[in-house]
Symmetry: D2
Subunit: 449 residues, 4 copies
Amino acid sequence: MSSHLIESLGTTVPLAEAFSDRSILRAMLDFEAALARAEAAAGVIPAAAAQAITAAAATDALDAAAIARAARDSGTISIPFVKALTALVDSADASSGRFVHFGATSQDVADTAMVLTIRRARSGLAVDHKRLTHRLRELSDRHARTVMLGRTLLQPASPITFGLKVAGWYAALTRSWARFERSCDEACVLQFGGASGTLAALDGRGLNVSERLALELDLPLPAAPWHTERDRIAAVVADAGICTSTLGKIARDISLLMQDEVGEVSEPGGGSSTMPQKRNPSGCAVALAAAVRLPSLVSSFLTGSIQEHERGVGGWHAEWPTVAAALQATGSALASLAAAIDGLTVNPERMRANIERTNGTVFAERVVMLLAPGLGKETANSLISDALARCRESGKPLRDVLLAMPDVARAIPPQILERIDVAEDYLGSADALRVRLLERSASVRASEC
Amino acid sequence: MSSHLIESLGTTVPLAEAFSDRSILRAMLDFEAALARAEAAAGVIPAAAAQAITAAAATDALDAAAIARAARDSGTISIPFVKALTALVDSADASSGRFVHFGATSQDVADTAMVLTIRRARSGLAVDHKRLTHRLRELSDRHARTVMLGRTLLQPASPITFGLKVAGWYAALTRSWARFERSCDEACVLQFGGASGTLAALDGRGLNVSERLALELDLPLPAAPWHTERDRIAAVVADAGICTSTLGKIARDISLLMQDEVGEVSEPGGGSSTMPQKRNPSGCAVALAAAVRLPSLVSSFLTGSIQEHERGVGGWHAEWPTVAAALQATGSALASLAAAIDGLTVNPERMRANIERTNGTVFAERVVMLLAPGLGKETANSLISDALARCRESGKPLRDVLLAMPDVARAIPPQILERIDVAEDYLGSADALRVRLLERSASVRASEC
Amino acid sequence: MSSHLIESLGTTVPLAEAFSDRSILRAMLDFEAALARAEAAAGVIPAAAAQAITAAAATDALDAAAIARAARDSGTISIPFVKALTALVDSADASSGRFVHFGATSQDVADTAMVLTIRRARSGLAVDHKRLTHRLRELSDRHARTVMLGRTLLQPASPITFGLKVAGWYAALTRSWARFERSCDEACVLQFGGASGTLAALDGRGLNVSERLALELDLPLPAAPWHTERDRIAAVVADAGICTSTLGKIARDISLLMQDEVGEVSEPGGGSSTMPQKRNPSGCAVALAAAVRLPSLVSSFLTGSIQEHERGVGGWHAEWPTVAAALQATGSALASLAAAIDGLTVNPERMRANIERTNGTVFAERVVMLLAPGLGKETANSLISDALARCRESGKPLRDVLLAMPDVARAIPPQILERIDVAEDYLGSADALRVRLLERSASVRASEC
Amino acid sequence: MSSHLIESLGTTVPLAEAFSDRSILRAMLDFEAALARAEAAAGVIPAAAAQAITAAAATDALDAAAIARAARDSGTISIPFVKALTALVDSADASSGRFVHFGATSQDVADTAMVLTIRRARSGLAVDHKRLTHRLRELSDRHARTVMLGRTLLQPASPITFGLKVAGWYAALTRSWARFERSCDEACVLQFGGASGTLAALDGRGLNVSERLALELDLPLPAAPWHTERDRIAAVVADAGICTSTLGKIARDISLLMQDEVGEVSEPGGGSSTMPQKRNPSGCAVALAAAVRLPSLVSSFLTGSIQEHERGVGGWHAEWPTVAAALQATGSALASLAAAIDGLTVNPERMRANIERTNGTVFAERVVMLLAPGLGKETANSLISDALARCRESGKPLRDVLLAMPDVARAIPPQILERIDVAEDYLGSADALRVRLLERSASVRASEC
């Protein structure tokens, strides 16, 4: 149980609500009420009992904190929850309490509540995902022709466009999200199996009840209960992890571009408690914090997913906090990055200036590509090394240095050599790739882009 | 660089070969030869150069260990590799070396080699996966009616069938594998972007060359290069992790069932260096060892996938050992579990005996389900508690105790009460669920089962 | 922000209180009040301001939830906290608010609050640790002569004593705890450095203020601020992780020994929502759940501890939830295992019976050790294999089979052969080792045991 | 089993040798020879057998690859190893093979070999650690007065000295290494317990043999065998992880300072396969790659350290590759960073220029500290906001703007205001802290600094 202060950067208001006691209790109550109705419809329990249970489940009478405290004794919240609900039903109709949780097991209600909560959290994430990708698309289009340095290993490289960079972010996020949605679709299925997963307590009517229960909760019915087969939930957590790493990459890039010495983009950010001049990349910090945490949460879930026989000892008991932290941190990253992109300032002049301050040396590759076919790699490399040394010593632009080198001037046509450091001339297929990234990601599933 | 001894349980012979120096070098050479041919076809380099490069790349002349040592200087194997290949080509045709790796960047060859290696490793894994799932299916069918204890939190629970248990393993593995295959399909795409990912060095012919290169290598061409968008490889590693956790669950169950005191199944296993009577679950140990390692390898990959700008510093450099360890360990787990299942001995008599030695107490739930509707939960629980206490004290079976309790005998029809501890009578929908698991998993995609 | 229900097994009441909003806010207020007093004493701010700040900090007037919500804007709770405190001080004395947080930076108050919270949590953990180790020591002494099967790879091995097994648990826990305490001692030091860690805002009086502040808070003063040197906190989290793995090993052993088929020990445990006969190892489940989570929390902290320059972007922001979850889960494991050991039932009869039901085959090693020196390994192995086969076929005890084998009877003195399967005769140095484990662990530091 | 190419950045030549087949085999042979001598001295086996075993163990006759392949059958390399060694001894002296591995278990030889290998690897690491810390100390002293920007959240902050920054690196590394050494001291102890850890096979002479064996191998004798108590090895891996995160922080800082736009330091680095102008931070990349991997290796070890009863199933089997990868990657990071620091170019002019290009705005905090006591925080903040806005609009330095603001000029003495942006005037206790970091770290244990 952590405090608002501790979790302040690790969740959002809607997600904190989705994982609140009220929300979890609601999901558990919904399960029990739906179960009662399904069983009544299948003739397993009396209709009056279903009504009494449904009525009790519609109230907010249960005490989550007390249930949580009692959970330490039995190792699950389900047992004190069922006890409390039974008492509540009995207090209204003494002959109906006996039909609460009828034929179900602790894990049925706990897992189905988890699935319902995942489904709810996902809807929240989807809003920010949509907002973020929409803005990225716009941003990419707007900066289709904005040239900037490519940077490899944090060093200047041949130029790119900011539009291409953003399209790369967009496509990765679109793919990651598509995977996450697919995993949620697969994972958000009913859990209902009874003590050992055979529905034995319901005699031959277990599948009938299952089908009705699934309909009541609007959840698909899987082939069978999955008490100790956690692969589908694992995929949800893993794919949330991949989403968050993708968000972390975007945040990392922005925070680097926002360095004062680089100054190419700036997120709205936040201030400092002591330094008035500062504008911190605090949106990026929130996203990167999530990206630090998610890989380990994925790891934790995978480790715990090795669950013994028909109900695990420990692995299952570790799941809830991991799932809750993973989805909340993912959502926090999405929300903070959506806000950062929303308010992003882009500075094309600094982008161009940063290319220019390399004095044209980032076009050295281009020179080699022009020289090598005719002169061979060795000679080409030797010439460019020579030229780069002269640039460093003289402070002159590479273009001027090259124009003054007869061997180079002979080998490269003047109309090219004179524009050797024009970024727009050395963008290759940047825009074609940008358009491909946007188009394919928008129209197709992750598997095809 | 680890030894055979250290890695002995973490790989298989075919996988060790797939990740060997010879194999990696072959993939890198294949890339360079294919690139040369694609560029020749596109008119970027002379046909003679493509022939010379192809010829040099067909030899085994490069020294992997020397390339590996030199990699520490530049931070990548690609640079010494390209240098060595260039020298090799030059030694045959001095005018062709200059066209080696033409317009490509280090990461193009390294990543494409990684992708080709993943594709190769996957084929190896598929063989064992197929063998394992085939056997599991047979095993499930053979034991459709073999009753055994369900076990929750390692304690006896209502009975299940061994066929249902195995069907659960089968379905989880089938789903996990389908996810892994899908991720491999998405990830095994060409990497080709040049220095900053714009294909600038190839002028306007970059996409043309890309398409030809993809065809040469029989790899799909993605929308754009993905130098710092690692989500697709991350998904491969994550889905290998989910597969391995699934294998770990199966291995955990088998090793528990193989305990001498349980004695229900036995894998061929291995001996002890000192205790002649021992038969160790060594196949399970290998699978469980992989399941210990994979979650962290997934975590490591996700952490490293936050890569800066157009080429990362550190994150990219951490990938190869992680991918290699992850796929080899997954394959080792698959192979050892396939062998364990192949040689699995099942002991239905012990399964039944373990039910019987609970003295019928695992049917207590059944009694409550029969009593509660009429008498209420409280009375039902009180009666069964009373009955269980008598069982413990007298050592008599629950059935006999219950028959001697008038309140119970009144409430439960004698033909049911007399068979209250017949496992076959309390299997619920076990076989229907078993059949659903096998049928849906076999015929459909992960998303639908 | 997670709910009571979600965190129910991951914390204890005292630890939840230590990491509550009230507790964190108290630590932050204590820092600011102590800072004001230290600065007043050093002549940096007026005494009246220190009084006003101390007075305001003594109230409970701040709204943690509002501060937490505002934290998303600036990326830290410190900024809205300082703002709120300043307003509170100003409302009492308008000339004192300006001296709140004087010369300090956000991270100074946040980190010192973290350190104070760790110190508080550690005291809570120490109580359960002491209780647990005390009981383990007693348990080991009580069962110094209780024989049971050794078990390797979950298969029966030569006998041990339960006292030795427990002494192993005890010693590992004592060592792990000593490491954790040492790390806490090292880590629980003042954080105070100002904006860039130079104490520049305090002119030359920074160290003077630091010393006074450290005294006020009863925290050691480190050599220098440690804003981006997180190794000491990392060691706390890592050593909590090692403690928890040790607890997990104990819990794993108990849960295995508690299996119905083994039946050698039993923790008080909890019931089932549906199966009245069940007694679940729920204390072990809680400890094992923590052991599933801690490794990843350690990993997450280590990843985030790579913090840029003088204040990190993301890594720092990820720490709080990780530290809070790690210490709470460790404490939850300690508490639940202490309760489990407190109420542990040990069944020496089942322990002996489980040895006996191996029919003496677990003494096969002993036979080989007696035969091999005279007959050679090959012959010894061949004889014992033959004997084990006869045991299996005939169901006779190994002793009887061996007595009937002339080659064996010739090689092993009859007074030994007749007692070949007496567990007490084949315990080696079990008790000497047990005593060594208890004595060394009790009297010395981890480094010496 | 991974290739040289895959592991090229993850190890060094000496560490690869320490974890090579030859080295592991040597350690295992050393154990068996030492055991034989210890047992002969204790009268357990004939002296002639000890001689024969010692002689055989001195050869290089065993086939590591064959042993590794055979390990998959038994789940451990020890069994085929002992078999092969026995055959080798027998081939020289048929009456001595029977005394090979006498009374020991597989894990005794495997774990002791691991411990010997850790000890060997540690010596290798110590060389680079010493070199690196020595250079850092020098570097810090040399740049005691070199001013540079502090940077928080990657944004300019109040100035520091490069000497202080390096002293922080130095102290963190010194502390981390001290922890690692302490853990190695604790962990590098003999493993010798026989089948179940009781030394039963040696009758009453087990402890006597243990003491002699420990002396033979120059390893401390622990209180008892530790087959399933892995906390001490876990601490080695965790502390290697903390070391590597510390190295990662240094590498991260250097790679950021080496950005072209920052240009304050430069490591020797490496080139690019395609861009001749590039100088990549390849030493940092290697260290950062290790820092990406270590956290997960720590996690993996901790997860696997929950080992069942007297020998684990899976957890133990996962350890070797994890330990080998962790120590090799740590060593690779140490070596590459030592080289990077060795060849580090520092550019004090760019450091000063980067302060100056902020136009004095990084001294805004200083202004507020001077104004707030007299005018109150609100007025001070309002004045400085106004001043910063004028700086942005006019491009004038903060000093000039402030001098032109009467309210400010009235509140701050002219001799201070005129030097408001002199970095040397606003370093606080930077050098005192630097000296404290160097002195305490050099003279004391981690626990005291």
